[in-house]
Amino acid sequence: MTIRFGEWTIGLNGDGAPDRELIGGKAWSVARMQALSLNVPSAVVITTQACAAFTAGQATPAGLDEEIAAGVAWLEERTGRRFGAGPRPLLVSVRSGAPVSMPGMMDTVLNLGINDETEAALAEECGDPLFARNTHRRFLDLYAHIVLKADSPVPGNGGDPAKWREAIRATTGIEVPHEPKAQLHGAVRAVFESWNSRRARRYRQHHDIPDDLGTAVTIQAMVFGNLDARSGTGVLFSRNPLTGAPAPYGEYLPRAQGEDVVSGKFTPKPLSALAHELPAAHASLLAAAQTLERAGRDVQDIEFTIERGQLFFLQSRAANLSPHAAARIAVDFVREGLVDEDAALRRITPDQVRILLAPHISPSALHSAHALASGEGASPGVGIGALVRDSDEAERRAQAGEAVILARPTTSPDDLHGMIASRAVVTELGGSTSHAAVVGRALGLPCVVGCGKGALEGLAGRTVTVDGRTGKVYDGALAIESSDESDHESLATLSAWAASRSPLRVLPPSAPEAQDAVDLTGNVAAADPTTIGEALKLIKGARGARGGAIASDEGVRGALAAGLEFIVADPVLPPLLAALRSQDATAPPSVVTERI
């Protein structure tokens, strides 16, 4: 059985998972990983009942402080470290964890337990004073940001802990405690208080979640990937998330902490480097990836750290997949017996297939194409038209029926009307978060940003082809081609599965029966997805329909509501998937993101 330190606190030792209602989602994930025999950093959890008691009484429940002390002593024993003292200091993370994930809850505080004394001990232990100092800075920054709700009073570089503490005190009027026990109590209290934040209360009200459920607090030992040559950190995908190829893909950074991988300051090594340096850890990692994938029935994105040769799993969750990988993996999972065909079809959205089959520049045209400018691809898609340097002109010429490309040094809200009128947008300055990029994506408009100052001068009036995926602006109107389901083996398979289940038949334009469909081309209401449903109600005696917005998700819903037998569309898979979703309106989300 798990260890209880009293009424409110539990130690997770791998012997069975306590009730999720009691320990919350985060601790439950830790227990689940332990149940799969994976090594997870030691953790204790303060139960949701303690939070409920805190909320009811507006004070720390009796006995909780003593139980936290007992829990910390248990962590010290399991890790061989000491909280708030050298030579091997114990640092912990503190996380909130409600039984159901909920907005407004306190975010994670890392490296809690560091102060001047433990910083010195940590510097000694890892032989890297700069790392120990950074750990101290990161703790102060997170504590200020998350517990004290201040905005980055700790500067990114320069200064020392005394100055950072002073900056926090000046901004918030509150002192960050030196004493690790006081830091811990402060963070625990902040988690409890976040249960009653505006967002959390509103969410519960909206979703009929009882206010007395409470959130748990998980206190977990930090592990260090930078202690020696047999330490490191990395990420592993159980399959390739870009191509969907069924081979694990990962990156490993020796002598490093998790933040170093994310920061991009260091170039990680491929996972094969780990196979060479620490073969045992590498083998258990690959085995764990399989275990986690089978348990989660989804491709896993796994974070791990190796401390002095010992492998720890920090987190595993469903990976974000490219549309291409999502399609391939859905089919592969059925073949491997992990999910059935119905579940596979639910994992793919109509939009993912539309993105996969979106028109692109023909490879033969690309071969001889001349790039006039090149920048960062910020919103995918291809746009062809006359290059225009001014938004008012773009709008005017577009209204006269001309296809235009808006090219600006940068865009601002001044340019919105010009952007809406254009087939694509190109800018000289700015990156993937610039106005042009953000608005371009929001409008579904191909967009290339940051071509360089002056790069677009002298191009006005030229006809160009813009590729928003690769970031190239080509001279002239290049040939465009689109692929269909038959070009992708996995899409062809999904189409066959979908067709045999769909409540609505979807025919390609080449099918003989397609001629019997009512043609909606020219029907103003049917051209707009928001009104096509009404338009279809007015059509009497038809068996099928084609044209207008019939292939959109709304068109499919309208066709089903109007009792049509079939629609005509190219490609056929997106409407088939939309029809299945419409039939199965209670379908779970296509991607399972629950952490395990």
Binding site: G104, N320, Q352, H417, R441, A442, P589
Partner: protein
Amino acid sequence: MTVSETHLVMHGLAIKKHATPEAVAGIVGLDVEDVRAALGKLVEAKRVVEAHGKYLLAPAARMALDADYSCLYEDVRAHPDFAAGYEAFERLNGGLKRLITEWQTIDVRGEGVPNDHSNKAYDDRIIDRLGDLHERAEGALDRLACVLPRFSIYREKLGMALEKAEDGAIEWVSDARIESYHTLWFELHEDLLRLMRREREE
């Protein structure tokens, strides 16, 4: 400090661009009928152009407006609360831009894939972070509103967009065609840049 209604209408039009009287009135906090009347006069004076019920500043008016900013808001720019509110806003701006990028693009192994919003848990996490950022922005907006009370309009409208997004109407995060969170944030930034006489960086 007092500014004329005409100036405020022109300023609102500069922020809203190609806009209806209702949109201008909403963002600067004037009565719609007053805005309509002011726009009528501005059209007569050829400082504003009307097309299909929407209004647009004429080039000469944009220049006049720039001159207005330099002389009308000197004490606003010098006010420590306003300057602090503006600096706080700029600090939050980077976070908002990163957040909107993550809203629109999912990172798959370093490559951006358009977010098709099929993953509700992903979207929910971002809306939660937007809520956190909003709570921090409220402090900045309160400081700005101490000096220029009309800035409380942004606080209210941003809060409304956020709550709609929280309730599941996700177009209120970044749709450029409505007063979504990002639209309002961008307009607020534009408003501040004009008053502070700064240039947008990208």
